[in-house]
């Protein structure tokens, strides 16, 4: 499915258009289809290194598209457990497959309760509808 209504039910979201897939102690993080369509073709990424710490609501990297540069905001706090380094060679994966192959980093949750503060798919759907 494409289009801004592509908002998987099983993910949590931020108002800055990141998604988080929480499994146990880990949160896989990416940007939403809506964000990708706003950005256009992604050409470069700047991501933290494995082992670095990120904080909820703080900038953890940037994404450059042909049109613009955007900050990436961490949905949760914790240590970076894994980085999708394959994206540096194929940044277009983010455009093609933002919810699986286009994941950015995995964060080891420092405070699992932070997940509760994230938006549900239904809430995020409303937010996107307002911004369209």
């Amino acid at each position: 499915m494409s289009g801004p209504s592509d908002i998987p039910e099983d993910l949590r979201y931020t108002k800055d258009h990141e998604w988080a897939r929480v499994q146990g102690n880990l949160a896989q993080v990416g940007i939403t289809r809506f964000a990708v369509e706003q950005l256009g073709d992604v050409t470069q990424l700047e991501l933290p290194k494995k082992g670095e710490s990120v904080a909820q609501g703080e900038v953890f990297g940037t994404v450059e598209s042909v049109k613009a540069v955007s900050d990436l905001f961490a949905p949760v706090s914790g240590k970076v457990a894994r980085v999708n380094d394959a994206l540096h060679d194929k940044p277009e994966t983010i455009n093609e497959d933002p919810y699986s192959g286009g994941w950015l980093i995995e964060i080891e949750l420092a405070e699992p309760s932070q997940v509760d503060a994230l938006l549900s798919a239904a809430d995020y759907k409303k937010l996107v509808a307002e911004q369209q």
């Binding site: 256009g40 073709d41 050409t43 470069q44 700047e46 940037t62 450059e64 042909v66 049109k67 613009a68 540069v69 277009e92 455009n95």
Partner: protein
Amino acid sequence: MTPAVPLRRTPLFDLHVAAGAKMVEFGGWEMPLSYQGIVAEHRAVRSSVGLFDVSHMGEVALRGPRAAEAVQRLVTNAVGKLDDGAAMYTVMCYPDGGIVDDCIVYRRAQDDFMVVVNASNTGKDLAWMQENAGRIAEVIDESDATGLIAVQGPQAVALVATLSGTDVAAVKRFRFARANIAGVPCLACRTGYTGEDGFELACPADRAPALWSALTAAGGTPIGLGARDTLRLEAKLCLYGNDIDQTTTPLEAGLGWVVKLDAGDFIGRDALARQKAEGVQRSLVGFRIDGRGIARHGYPIVDRSRPAGEQVIGQVTSGTTGITVGGAIGMGYVPVASAAPGSELTIDCRGKDVAARVVKGAFYQRG
């Protein structure tokens, strides 16, 4: 507060929306940013043929027995070298040498010139031209009556030829001819803004949709403003408002080749003659970024060996990903000491220093 002014629309607006284009505001107009994505559109122009709605651009006619003199009063390039059917790129300057606008001048007849100007400047340019040339020639705004479609790419000439009864391929670069394209009377101009071969087709505004539809049906790919920007930057063509404006002179912008000091008594000549004699302090250069990062309009160019507070030595005016040429490319003003090809630059990309090198000429040259 800015008063709400309704955005203007070209005659092709409905066709863009029907094609699913993402529409954006540009210079007071509601224009297509992209249809299928900037990268795909950029590549279509480099590999086959793209279509651009540039009907938002302004067309101003100068007519009368002294029309040539009137145009020469306004522009820095030599109007006298044009014959009927010839066009030239030039700029209009203020008395201090700053640029009013860049434009293409077409000589339709000895007493009839057409000047094509930037959409966002049309109102300002018209007033300027009226004020400074209105007493010796008739200045007529033809913008609303004119549709303008650019057809660009290695297959552009062949595409226009298939829809035309005349031998458009015989029209040389920077020349134009009257031609019926898909039954629409056009001025077919061998000009463009992409670094590719092709035409810009001026036609009656109400016939533009028919022309556009025929061109798309014949295989042309619609291209939005996003790819128009990446294409022109690879060809190192200036964009008014980004790379040139009223604070920059054509000599600083690398447009010395359109300044013909002996062409006549044009506005800005004395200032430009003085600057040419004294030498410019800064130059617009093209650069490539060595590592990661993209420099964008407004980013400072810095020299970290200078004392704090004096480190900014220039500014990036345009920057993007080189879709065809690879890497990150851009343009910016630097002191002449740093303008030679190979000079190392440091660009402050949102608080992070990025190394760049000055490169010579256009990033992209068609084969």
